[in-house]
Amino acid sequence: MPAPKIMTLADMAARVPDGASLALGGSFLHRGPFAFVRELIRQAKTGLEIIKQSPGYDLDILCRARCVTKARAGIVAMEGNFGLAPWYRRAVELQQIVLEEHACMTLTAGLRAAAFGVPFQPVGGVHGSDLPSLNHWASVTDPYGSGKEVWVIPAIQPDIAVIHVNEANELGDARVYGTYNWDRIMSRAAKQVFIVADTLASVQSFKDRPELTLIPSFMVQAVAVVPNGAWPGSCWPLYEVDYPAVEDYMDTTRDLGLHMACAPERLERVDA
């Protein structure tokens, strides 16, 4: 029988080597694996590469704690009314991190190439943008004679996709309510998948409605159950964004430790 996949958040984060590339699920302040990201900081990881179409708090706090050296992203902001992600912005401006700037869908095309097992993936649009020359992307003329020229994106295979989900079971199956953002393609592109679940649900509940399962257990290497683990972001329909907490985080005069001390995963328990 395979080894149990349910573990503590600390054990899950311990499986991330320095220098790993991580695809992070969710979008902006919504359903991000934020407890996991804070645990990376507690474990003082370095040299991480973050892959996410629309990171915000997660990439920003990792920049703040100097855990990141590279980001591949389409749009980075705190959103809500918070505007730019300050520590990320600073890290790029000071060249503390290397940015590979994408459109959300070019990053997705790279993930698709990895998920589909092909070296590159054509993507619609991009024409007229400075991004291809910036990233040395190639274009291919339609070999079927339409005359169309299409940009192709090289495969992007993250080492680990880390997805915060509403519910997982003890086998590792995972499901999400509301939009799954880009999590599906991330889970298919990455070499490994780690699941942070707000709630542990029964295996039977997954058998009752298997169509709702976003990520089947056989693709999942590790599961941690962390209630409220997307804090200070939302996890629909369980909880909304904690805007005062984000405001505190954004206060550049306030020590990061004060923010970290409020995090719900400090109360973590494994519900298995």
Partner: protein, 254 residues
Amino acid sequence: MPDGWSGFSYLVINLARFIRPDEVTFSGVNSTPPMLACLLAKRAYDFDFVYLNVAGGVQPTPSTIPISSSDPVLAEGSTAIFANEDFYDLCTRGGMDLCFLGAAQVDGLGRTNVSVIGDWHHPNVRLPGGGGGAVMLPTARRAVTWRTEHSTRTMVETLDFVTAAGGLAGVVTPIAVFVKRDGRLALQSWHPEASLDEVRQRTGFDFVATAATPTPPPSVNESAALQTLDPEGQFERDANIAPLVDRCSLPRRR
């Protein structure tokens, strides 16, 4: 704004006026004004259209109006979840009629920069990045952008970086509505309390204003719909649009 415009109402309502019957219309991340415009159009206009949003919503009926334009509440009441790959593919294959996309700078060709102020490799300001722009701007049937600041640093002759180019059909600012005509942005109408001259002064690129007129005032339905979306004026305060009369810092144009 009983009969006239505020900068905020001008922006939101004129974005809504780009929405057409039966079209598929999309609002994305970091896009509060278009989110409000889509929700307003659903309330103010006597036609239906397909409202999709980045929260996976398909014809949603959200119970609250969120601060974040990607908040999952924007899918509430939907009969389907249309997640990110799905709405992007819809756009690239030609099924997105109207797409609202953000910009930090817009040039006279209707191209946008959301990437950087200064040199990309040595940025003065690292901006958020274009998100959907580079893929959606050229592939949506029509794309519309907006700026809460109308100035020669936002409406520019030369972009610091071309994040996206292609299908821009319109731009709305707190004082003007531009549309694409013959490959360049042309003024369609201006805030009636501003002037054509003010729009020219505050715009960094040349544009034609043939047939441009003062923007028709908000209809009763438009004003009422905005009132239901922002009863306390919180969105208007958060948008923090500079008063129209504050012209002290206007640069002289060339």
